[in-house]
Structures are given as structure tokens and as C-alpha cells.
């Protein structure tokens, strides 16, 4: 089982051990993860609300995509970094936790969807994309991200 071996290697690495042994490292990394969640949540919501025809409106989707992109990428990097650190401290437990796999699958799908379908739809001329398609894209994106968040919260209940 190469994946389990890899996870065991992470957990027994000095990083995993240091986070487990410290009383405050895990909560501090968790806090960073939470703060980045607010930023990524805000940028994802602003774009998706506009695709839904709500918030700042469908016509501003392309502009909003450009405006929020650096914040999305920056907060994503912080999420991935802090998430990886949290992961190393309990990798073997997570291997057996279904919520972890739900979250990782949803994250993968969210990122692929964001970089392809959502990007194309948001940047397209609003007159050439049907409102139905825009709404569907916004809804699917929100749903995928919801599973990432809910999966993350669910990991804590074990």
C-alpha cells in the first residue's frame, strides 16, 4: 500500500512530529487556515454571485474575475500550505477518514472546474453566454466548494 506508506512517512517526519508535540502549533496553523478560508471564500463568492446574476451582477463577472484572481491564488496557496502542515501531523488518521478523501476529491474537482469551465464562462462576453449556463456554472462551483468546506469541518468530528 504505497499511499499509506507515504502518509506514514509524512506523519513520522520531523514536521509532523514537531506539530504533534507542540501545544500551540496546531491551533496556530489552524487559525491561519481559517483566515485564508475567509479570503478564498470571499473571492469565490463574489465571482459566483455575479455568475448567478446576483451580488454585483452578471455584467461585472469578467472584471471581478480579474480583480479577485490574485487574492484567490494567494489565499489558495496559504490554504494548501497550512492544510499540508495540518495533514502531516495526523496523516495516518486521515488516510482512514472518509471526510478527508471527500474533501480532497472535491478540492481537485473545484480547482479543475474553476480553471476551465468557470474561467471561460466568467471571461466570456455576457451577451454570448445564456443566463441559464451562467447560473449553472455558478451553482456547480458553489456546490463543489461547499463540499470542500463541509469535508474539512467533518474531519474535525472524529
Amino acid at each position: 500500500m504505497p499511499i499509506l506508506e507515504l502518509f506514514t512517512w509524512f506523519e513520522t517526519s520531523w514536521i509532523g512530529e514537531a506539530i504533534r508535540d507542540s501545544r500551540w502549533l496546531f491551533p496556530v496553523i489552524e487559525s491561519v487556515h481559517l483566515l485564508a478560508l475567509a479570503v478564498i471564500g470571499g473571492s469565490v463568492l463574489v465571482v459566483n454571485l455575479s455568475l448567478l446574476g446576483l451580488g454585483l451582477g452578471r455584467r461585472s463577472a469578467a472584471q471581478l474575475w480579474h480583480d479577485t484572481w490574485p487574492w484567490f491564488i494567494g489565499s489558495l496557496a496559504v490554504m494548501l500550505g497550512s492544510g499540508f502542515l495540518l495533514f502531516t501531523s495526523e496523516a495516518v488518521k486521515l488516510y482512514y477518514h472518509e471526510a478527508f478523501w471527500v474533501k480532497m476529491s472535491a478540492l481537485f474537482l473545484s480547482l479543475v472546474f474553476t480553471a476551465t469551465v468557470q474561467r471561460r464562462t466568467a471571461l466570456a462576453d455576457p451577451d454570448r453566454v445564456s443566463m441559464l449556463r451562467s447560473r449553472a456554472v455558478g451553482l456547480v462551483s458553489l456546490l463543489l466548494w461547499f463540499f470542500v468546506g463541509a469535508g474539512g469541518r467533518w474531519i474535525g468530528f472524529s
Binding site: R23, S31, V46, T68, W71
Partner: protein, 173 residues
């Protein structure tokens, strides 16, 4: 009745005990509280970034406020309701938690910041509505809001780790 007395009374009510001992309700309320963070705090961050001139610069400030504040208020209502329920599930323990007290203090300061912006700073908004970087008072409001909300979120997370309240809780018993 003292605040502690109120907390003790709350803790003895049937609803508090039911919530505290529930298998599903407590995790559901807690999840709602955390995930609504994206709606309320996420959009607040976006507005603050606009005030700072760091994002959404092509959109007028008044437009961002008019279109996003209803969503923020809906998120805030869910945050406050779920937060009150979380407090209700363990009032005495939470009352003694230093992070809870810090969080409430920062929350109050954040409310003051909003009030100053609403009643004073935003009065001149027509003059800088389109500016990609608003005047210093507006930027200050955005920066303060970001700092206070970061502190509120971190304190909220830390309430779960009752590091410093063992002693005080023991004294109260």
C-alpha cells in the same frame, strides 16, 4: 442577577442541556457557524479590500456596499444565531474562556468601526466613490476592520482550546 448567575441559569435550562448532549445538533450548528464565515467574513474582506484600494478597484464603493451588504447581513444573522446557540450549549465554561471575552471585545470594537464609517466617513463618499484608492479615513476603516475580524476569527477558533480557563472555572464551582 450577575452575568455569571445568568450563565448558570441558562446552563440549567432544558434547551442548553439538550444542545450540549446532542449528537447531531451541536456539530451542525458549529459547521453552520464556520461555513457562514465565507459568506459574511469573506464578503466583508472584499469590501475592506475595496476600501483599501487593494481589490475591486473598477467598481464604485457605493456599488460594492449596496450590492454586497444584503448578503453580508444575511451571513451575519446566521453567524450571530449559530454563535448564540454555541454559547447557549455551554454558557458557564464559555463565560470564563479568555478567548471568548477577547472575541466579544473585538466584536464591539468592530461595531464601533462600522458606526464611525457609516455615520461619518461615508458622508463624503460621493467625492471618492470612483477612486481606486479612497481617502485615508476610508482606508483606515477597511484596515481596522480586517485586523479586528482576523482577531475575532482567531479568538473564535481558540475558544475550543480552553488553555487558560481551568483555574477560573474551578474557582467558580
Amino acid at each position: 442577577m450577575s452575568p455569571l448567575g445568568v450563565c448558570r441559569w441558562l446552563e440549567s435550562t432544558r434547551g442548553s442541556i439538550a444542545l450540549h448532549e446532542s449528537i447531531w445538533m451541536y456539530p451542525i450548528v458549529e459547521s453552520a457557524h464556520v461555513l457562514t464565515l465565507c459568506l459574511f467574513l469573506g464578503l466583508t474582506v472584499m469590501l475592506d479590500l475595496r476600501l483599501l484600494g487593494a481589490s475591486l478597484s473598477a467598481t464604485r464603493v457605493s456599488q460594492v456596499i449596496r450590492r454586497l451588504v444584503p448578503w453580508m447581513l444575511a451571513g451575519f444573522a446566521i453567524m450571530v444565531t449559530s454563535g448564540a446557540l454555541l454559547f447557549y450549549a455551554a454558557p458557564v465554561k464559555t463565560y470564563f474562556n479568555i478567548f471568548f471575552r477577547l472575541k466579544m471585545t473585538f466584536l464591539l470594537m468592530s461595531g464601533l468601526n462600522v458606526a464611525v464609517f457609516h455615520f461619518s466617513t461615508s458622508r463624503t463618499m460621493p467625492l471618492w466613490d470612483q477612486d481606486s484608492s479612497p481617502p485615508v479615513r476610508a482606508r483606515l476603516a477597511g484596515g481596522l476592520s480586517l485586523a479586528l475580524w482576523a482577531a475575532i476569527a482567531v479568538c473564535g477558533r481558540m475558544i475550543a482550546y480552553n488553555w487558560f480557563d481551568h483555574h477560573a472555572a474551578a474557582l467558580a464551582r
